[in-house]
């Protein structure tokens, strides 16, 4: 089957841009839901890199890893959202910095 050969560099560039965007989001956003969304973006950036690398080496491993990441992300969102609910119950806010009373 003819495959449109996307240069791997482009794919990796996309992955890194996505990853950095996600990371920046984690760093600058204070809303916990946004932080969670940004983490999802970072996970998907890693997934893109996996898929690209798998297609470059003609190996199925990349796709397998992506499916693993997908399931992990789903699990993580489930747990994360539950935590956020608890968080909101406790602090009446979605501001991550509001929960800084654990400092040592």
């Amino acid at each position: 089957m003819p495959v449109a050969h996307l240069p791997i560099n482009h794919a990796l560039l996309l992955a890194s841009v996505l990853f950095v965007l996600g990371l920046l989001g984690v760093l600058v956003r204070r809303n916990v839901i946004f932080i969670l969304v940004c983490i999802e973006i970072m996970l998907n950036a890693a997934g893109v890199a996996f898929v690209a690398a798998g297609s470059r080496w003609q190996q199925a491993d990349g796709q397998i890893m992506f499916i693993l990441i997908l399931t992990l992300a789903a699990a993580e969102v489930a747990v994360g959202l539950a935590l956020i609910l608890q968080f909101y119950h406790r602090f009446r806010s979605l501001d991550a910095d509001a929960a800084s009373d654990m400092e040592g």
Binding site: V26, L27, V28, I35, D97, A99, S100, D101, E103, G104
Partner: protein, 629 residues
């Protein structure tokens, strides 16, 4: 019958075990029977064994009995074994016989004491240990007895433990003698390491074979044993514990701190005489220690007011005589004086006990007075004992034993006129302080009411000891009185005779001089303390006289010196370092890590995004290192 020798120390030990395990639940009669009975049986058995020894002497006049092998490691094979020779026969008899009399006396004397059972338990343990000491066939077993008697001495000095002063005196006695024991122990190391055995007879043979006279090792070993003897026998410079030891009950002072335990040092040196003969320097030291001690203690005795302390100083002084005899090679004579001293000093202490009891625990002789008439039951025994202590010619046993020592100090090959002079002055002092005590306490006007009179169980020992203090000297009579040498003749089977350089004429002359010292001392005491007591009182109340009095009263300031040199620094160290300075290092380590923890915990702000930033920066740094370096 000598096969039963092991029973002699075992009987008192069984007495101790029975009393210790029943722990005060027995009635007083039972305690008295067990306590005194076990020692009485032991004394009877000892007498029987001694009779057998005299009538049918074993080959070589010595008999060894091994109970069992104590331990065996690498050629170190001490046994629990007994050795019976004339020397140990004499010691065994003295210990069991005087011991029994004092037990008998105690059954009445201690009758009102709540610790009756405990008292007899300790006393029985003491007799057992003392017998182990004198019968041991090797130095390690001897050391067992040696430490055992030290322990019992501690326990009995501190018998009335409610008073912290008694406890202090007891601890002082144990610790000071233990200082001597350190020397003794090191001496055992030297002897075993270089001669390969601690069995006394082979050891002495080995020493004589391997070590030439005056060799450094022999001298070292002899000096170390002397260290032990000096501690136990309260000689210079470790004599300071004995006067304080009078805190114990009076029978204890009589048995342990007069008749038996304190003479253990004399026995040890006599037992290892071969070693001392190989080390002339050490033997001279023995003589000098003895001479110095007998003088120092004599002066101190003159200034005391406590009846028991006077007797304690006189004990130190008399043991000084024994050391002097040992130092000039008159081994048998030293043991003779040891035996006679055991009789008359026990007698003195026991009658002093009667006095103290009669006057409701009064120790101060200046508050007694007139007891000659109010308490004759104590006066006559005390007078007989005092005469023997002062070595009054002919009518006292002390004369024969002490004058032999004074004579040998002059005439022996290793004697000298200086030693003789010291002994002579000492004899003068002895009768002076003895009769000072008698004149002040028993003559003059009564000052305290007599409240109690002794019963039979107190009087029997006093009578027996009085008789012995008078006739005991007949075993040994000088040339002009028939030249009897029963005692030394018997002892010379195991101890060498003294090399006397002077003849009988000198002996007679010197004995006349000693007799003069003895009688002169009594006369001086009469003049100074009974006739004109104000002379001395004036002298002692001002200027140098007062200072000298204080100096002698405080035992030549040696207690003060030891207090400053050893006791206080130790207490100071204990106080300063109670918290253990080493721990400061570890505490510092803990504080340091705590400080570091505080610095690092500053970064733990709780802000989630900061952590993420930190992780990002950290992984960036690690990545850049991995990629670019």
């Amino acid at each position: 019958m000598a096969q039963l020798l092991w029973l002699v120390p075992l009987l008192p030990l069984l007495g101790f075990t029975a009393l210790a395990l029943t722990g005060g639940h027995l009635g007083r009669r039972a305690v008295a029977w067990i306590g005194a009975g076990s020692v009485g049986l032991s004394a009877a058995l000892a007498l029987w064994i001694a009779a057998g020894f005299l009538l049918h002497p074993p080959a070589g006049h010595a008999y060894t009995l091994t109970a069992w092998q104590w331990m065996a490691v690498e050629g170190f094979t001490p046994t629990i074994g007994f050795y019976l020779d004339p020397l140990s026969v004499v010691m065994m008899l003295v210990v069991t016989f005087v011991g029994f009399l004092i037990h008998l006396y105690s059954t009445e004397f201690m009758a009102g004491d709540p610790g009756y059972s405990r008292f007899f338990a300790y006393l029985n343990l003491f007799v057992a240990s003392m017998l182990a000491l004198v019968l041991a066939d090797n130095l390690l077993f001897l050391y067992l007895g040696w430490e055992g008697v030290g322990l019992c001495s501690y326990l009995l000095i501190g018998f009335w433990y409610d008073d912290p002063d008694n406890g202090r005196a007891a601890r002082k006695a144990f610790v000071v003698t233990r200082i001597g024991d350190v020397a003794f122990t090191v001496g055992l190391f030297v002897l075993f390491t270089h001669l390969g055995t601690l069995d006394i007879q082979p050891l002495m043979a080995q020493a004589a074979a391997q070590w030439p006279a005056g060799s450094a090792l022999a001298t070292t070993a002899a000096f170390l044993l002397l260290g032990g003897a000096v501690g136990k026998s309260a000689q210079l410079p470790l004599q300071t514990w004995l006067p304080d030891a009078m805190a114990g009950p009076t029978p204890v002072s009589a048995l342990i701190h007069a008749a038996t335990m304190v003479t253990a040092g004399v026995y040890l040196i006599a037992r290892t005489h071969v070693l001392f003969a190989l080390a002339p320097a050490a033997q001279l030291a023995v003589a000098v220690v003895g001479a110095a001690t007998l003088l120092l203690a004599g002066f101190s005795a003159l200034t005391q007011w406590d009846i028991k302390r006077i007797l304690a100083y006189s004990t130190i002084s008399q043991i000084g005589y024994m050391f002097l005899a040992l130092g000039v090679g008159a081994w048998a004579v030293a043991i003779f004086h040891l035996m006679i001293h055991a009789f008359f000093k026990a007698l003195l202490f026991l009658s002093a006990g009667v006095v103290i009891h009669a006057l409701d625990d009064e120790h101060n002789i200046f508050r007694m007075g007139g007891l000659r008439r109010t308490l004759p039951a104590a006066f006559w025994p005390f007078l007989i004992g005092g005469l023997a202590l002062s070595a009054v010619p002919f009518i006292s046993a002390g004369f024969y034993s002490k004058d032999l020592i004074i004579f040998d100090a002059w005439s022996s090959a290793s004697g000298s006129p200086w030693l003789w002079a010291a002994a002579w002055v000492g004899a003068l002092m002895t009768s002076m302080y003895t009769f000072r005590l008698i004149f002040i306490a028993f003559f003059g006007e009564p000052r305290t009411q007599v409240t109690r009179r002794p019963g039979t169980r107190v009087m029997i020992p006093l009578v027996i000891l009085s008789v012995l203090s008078v006739i005991g000297g007949c075993l040994e009579l000088p040339a002009y009185m028939g030249n009897v040498h029963l005692f030394t003749g018997f002892l010379h089977l195991s101890l060498p005779a003294v090399h006397a350089l002077a003849g009988d004429a000198t002996e007679t002359a010197l004995e006349l001089l000693s007799a003069a010292a003895s009688l002169g001392g009594i006369y001086l005491a009469y003049v100074l303390f009974l006739r004109n007591p104000h002379w001395l009182r004036n002298l002692a109340s001002q200027g140098t006289g007062a200072a000298l009095h204080r100096f002698w009263f405080g035992d030549w300031a040696m207690d003060w010196l030891y207090d400053r040199l050893a006791v206080r620094p130790y207490y100071w160290f204990a106080r300063v370092n109670r918290g253990d300075v080493v721990d400061a290092f570890y505490r510092g380590l803990a504080l340091l890590s705590q400080a570091l923890h505080e610095v690092l915990s500053e970064t733990q702000t709780g802000t989630l995004r900061r952590y993420a930033l930190g992780m990002t920066v950290g992984s960036l740094i690690v990545l850049s290192i991995a990629v670019f370096v």
